[in-house]
Symmetry: D2
Subunit: 347 residues, 4 copies
């Protein structure tokens, strides 16, 4: 951490900063330039940043961080990239894992049909929402526990482990009973009590990036989960909010290699929700795999025109074979193998 | 609601849309242009939007809403602008209400000193955080119930009703016991279980705009609260996230008149958190009052350089008289009177 | 300027940076912390930034500027805020100057009527476009020299000096013959040949902020003009592009005090183009004056419903008196007087 | 085009809109719903949009376009995707064309070395800037005609046709003499006189997307060029401005398939300038090819640490073989062949 003093800062203001740091148990090294003094800090930087309030001290022009504010999820904490296992299915640097399923669980038939579509598309994990976060209180909010039971039944029949969202911290125990992986949605990325609850639940967590979250804030949110003892976290890039309205959100494809460099956690991409358009799902899936993502998560639906949630972006039958082919052929070019689906039937 | 058909849509695709709408109990009026057909809808538009999935029907190019998706908080539901009373202190169209206090409650002395500063600045309500939402798990998270008790003590001594944030839905009952108004922070604007919990708590609510929320999403979030029977909601503009880094956020001053036109709810401005700089608080306060805000909420702190949260933006002693003067002199020019502080001492 | 070395940088990499700076004639001060070394630079920082390519040197983690990259337009170059005179009409820290007129010059009658509306609204300068920058090649591009002659005739009759846009550097001489102040539009803010041409034209220049320009880039664009010997520059904030679609652009009201602190140049606000809605012009004008702007520039039109450009945002007769009243009553509260219009008739 | 009337619009206001459209030679079809009337328009929509000012008419709530505002560059004008030839080198739907070279031409040796690197990386076209657009007037502005001559000499030696930027419309003739393709930079995307000048120059044009331009505005800028009779235009996505600061700009990878669907023009990607970081160039190149781009344009430099422009993002020797391998192996998966470089030596 570097404290940059203002050009007009006095020597006693510089000394004051040094004293404040030293009293807090840190070290401060002053470098006086022709125009301004610079103070390099070492010690428990996180604590200083959180408590010392250096930007408010007289004469201080700027405070520049030279280290990242997260620890457990950083590459400094763990040099090798992590492999997360979801009921045995790996997500990590050597594989490409496809997760697919309906945005919302509606009926047993729809969910089973969608799971079979998911397998056909190369998926090894089933996604499906029983609890939905909707902008409007008048929109479909999900089937709740009924939906979770449907997912468990479909898992028993197809063998695909289940990834499902938890929206309310009071539901964490319930969802954990049924799910193989808990999903935290974009709007909840900074719902800190929820992050702490899923961190303590004992199941892997998929953490979607918030609509307007920087990569650093995303990793800080993961740190909240990690702090509760759970490092089985998968990051999911799903588009950020920008001025462009041709897509629902702007897929930040660069975030994948950047997050992988800063953190040891796997990073996957959601090409369905970022674009919000079916015709973009295949091109964006190709881009995600090619850029080096550890997986993709896509919406499929047997009857998108009657879907109760996000129908316009769901893949349909004719797209599935192409997605499977893309996943199969592109993976080797980025040094990966497509993660095979578990055998069908009860485990 | 208007369904715009693609140029290449067939007559049977147009008929299909009409049938879908009529089967759902709505009316559909077809208008054929030279290049495209347009279908106007009437009936229970909210339900159609949430369930019919019109954008997925074959031949549909676009679906355009011609009505707002919120109801209870709209001007159509209540034509006159509302006055919300916080322990008797009004926030509404005829007054300018100043809310001030420390970002975080730290000690009884600091909170009492800040409350006295708040009064000197023209405030009639005391703000102060006992539960804090922090991006970093390593940052100060607030004193919790101890902080709430300090706020209650300071209220008893100064007479200023208390506005304080609730971060976790499990704390809603506890915070409601102490607070006169519950605050929902920007990061929780779409934490729907929390919105529903504060909607049922029986106290007025201040709802901050999310960092990347459109005005429509903000009003939809208010609708979640209103649906639980609580229309005592005050909207608070606190800056949106943009590319400009000279300020922490970009205060969207235009949002004030727009939200006031769309909704009957009062709209106030937070000039402290939007700018993140003390030197902007007074200019932005003047702008907020002049644009027609129903109030402002500002950070004050007796010793900003030791503040445990957001010290750099807190007003200090020398700014207070100027803020009071600004509030006093500008209010009449926009047809308002400065809301007087309640008498000191226990109520 | 501070060079922050990576944690893993070697001593010889640190020495290399020092050598590169010293060979370029600068001084470099090394400060070694527990985790990383920091190098403070002094000397001709602008030249180093433009030519040394420090971020590419081995072992460099980051390069942080501690000084502003513009010179002539900075407060360091001129401590006092400047007053710019447009044919004698001042724009500066003690006055509030209203500029008004039609977005585009269409006919002599329309322009004269608009100029009379401008006077009624308290304006002392007439705006009007003869050359228009339009997103679509199929939109009205302005009357060209015919429009300039109309503006000159209306100036002769009303006494109001003329502010008009120049879109093409080949037209600078022509426009300079007729105009009292040259306007550079938002889309041309980084059209550097045009900036240099208006910088050499010998007339004051109004420089609109680009849609996605940071405040620093805006001041750098002004520096291009200033470098040609022309410091008679007025900055105009007119909204930035964000995700919010309720307004055409998001007026960055905070940019006014920030630009005034960084630069000695006057800063005015365009409440018409930022909002793009007539009903926002008065509230945003009040906000602009209250925040401390040195002036405002507004669209007026005698018949907005037939305007060939931006009719929806033009003020109409009934708004004028209110704008004049706002400008008159708010100015004293921010220590200013409303700039009076020059006497009518030929000068 | 659809005019949506306000709920409270009167019958005579509806009639007035119809009359205005009919007087302009158009047709207007009224559809009255339960809450609002909708008016569908047909005829010369572009002219109506540019001149009728429909949003200002009394009773009008909204005007919705149902057709695109560009013509010549649209898929409706030309159904098949175009192939543009640059001195014989194709850019189009069946090939992947790599363009590479130094950001700025500095010396004959540096340019020749960079051109050899470009060939090694699989490039068939040489890029290099002789005229540079720089945010700061104190930064290196390019060698001008000297640089153009160096490019021509290097072309003679290596056989690679030359793509180079033109910054000032006065230089269009000069640059056209030397260049095989003219580049218009992001900051000039809406410099309409420059667009018109390059449209008349008789050479293919590469049009970079503006930092804050929507895809529609980008295509409208291409329409300005096309209007001058030149349809040999290649669109280049190079990142948009967002809140994320980990990259210089946010590469909008979705813009590639969207622009290809809306327009017949080829679309390429610049992975160097969008990310601004060397370590992102290869991943983003892979993503660009996989998403279906018609080409990529990358910075290479023999000595990035001494580059006078954008050194931090230039590829170096060790990256070249990998880029060539990526281009070679990924192309067939998206149905393309890597465009071969022309034979070395004078043509």
């Amino acid at each position: 951490m570097v404290v940059v003093m203002a050009a007009e800062a006095t020597a006693s203001e510089v000394d004051h900063v040094v004293n404040v740091v030293q009293e807090a148990g840190g070290e401060a090294f002053v470098s006086r330039g022709e125009f301004a003094a610079i103070i390099g800090l070492s010690g428990d930087i996180e604590r200083f940043a959180a408590t010392l309030n250096l930007p408010s001290l007289p004469g201080v022009a700027d405070v520049v961080r030279t280290s990242v504010p997260y620890k457990l999820v950083s590459r400094e904490h763990r040099h090798e990239r992590s492999v997360i296992r979801v009921a045995g299915v790996p997500i990590g640097p050597d594989t490409l894992t496809v997760i697919a399923g309906p945005c919302a669980v509606e009926t047993p038939e729809q969910t089973l049909a969608a799971a079979r579509m998911a397998r056909a598309a190369g998926a090894s994990l089933l996604r499906g929402g029983a609890f939905k976060q909707r902008t409007s209180p008048y929109a479909f909010q999900g089937l709740g526990e009924v939906g979770l039971k449907i997912l468990a039944d479909v898992r028993a029949e197809t063998g695909l482990p289940v990834v499902t969202e938890v929206v309310d911290q009071r539901d964490v125990d319930l969802v954990t009973t049924y799910a193989d992986m808990l999903q935290v949605g974009a709007r909840n990325m900074q719902n800190f009590p929820l992050l702490q609850a899923v961190g303590a639940a004992g199941k892997p967590v998929m953490l979607k990036r918030g609509l307007s979250a920087t990569i650093e804030e995303w990793l800080m949110a993961a740190e909240y989960i990690a702090q509760r003892g759970n490092l089985d976290i998968v990051l999911c890039e799903r588009g950020i909010r920008t001025f462009e309205s041709a897509t629902r959100n702007t897929l930040d494809i660069s975030a994948v290699p950047i997050a992988q460099r800063l953190s040891h956690l796997p990073v996957i991409v959601d090409p369905s929700h970022s674009g919000g358009r079916r015709d973009l799902v295949l091109p964006l899936s190709r881009a995600a795999i090619a850029v080096g993502a550890d997986g993709i998560i896509v919406d499929v639906h047997p009857h998108p025109e009657t879907a109760r949630c996000d129908g316009p972006q769901a893949l349909i039958e004719q797209d599935l074979r192409e997605l499977a082919s893309v996943a199969h052929h592109l993976s080797p070019l980025v040094g990966r193998t497509l993660t095979p689906a578990p055998a069908p039937g009860p485990r």
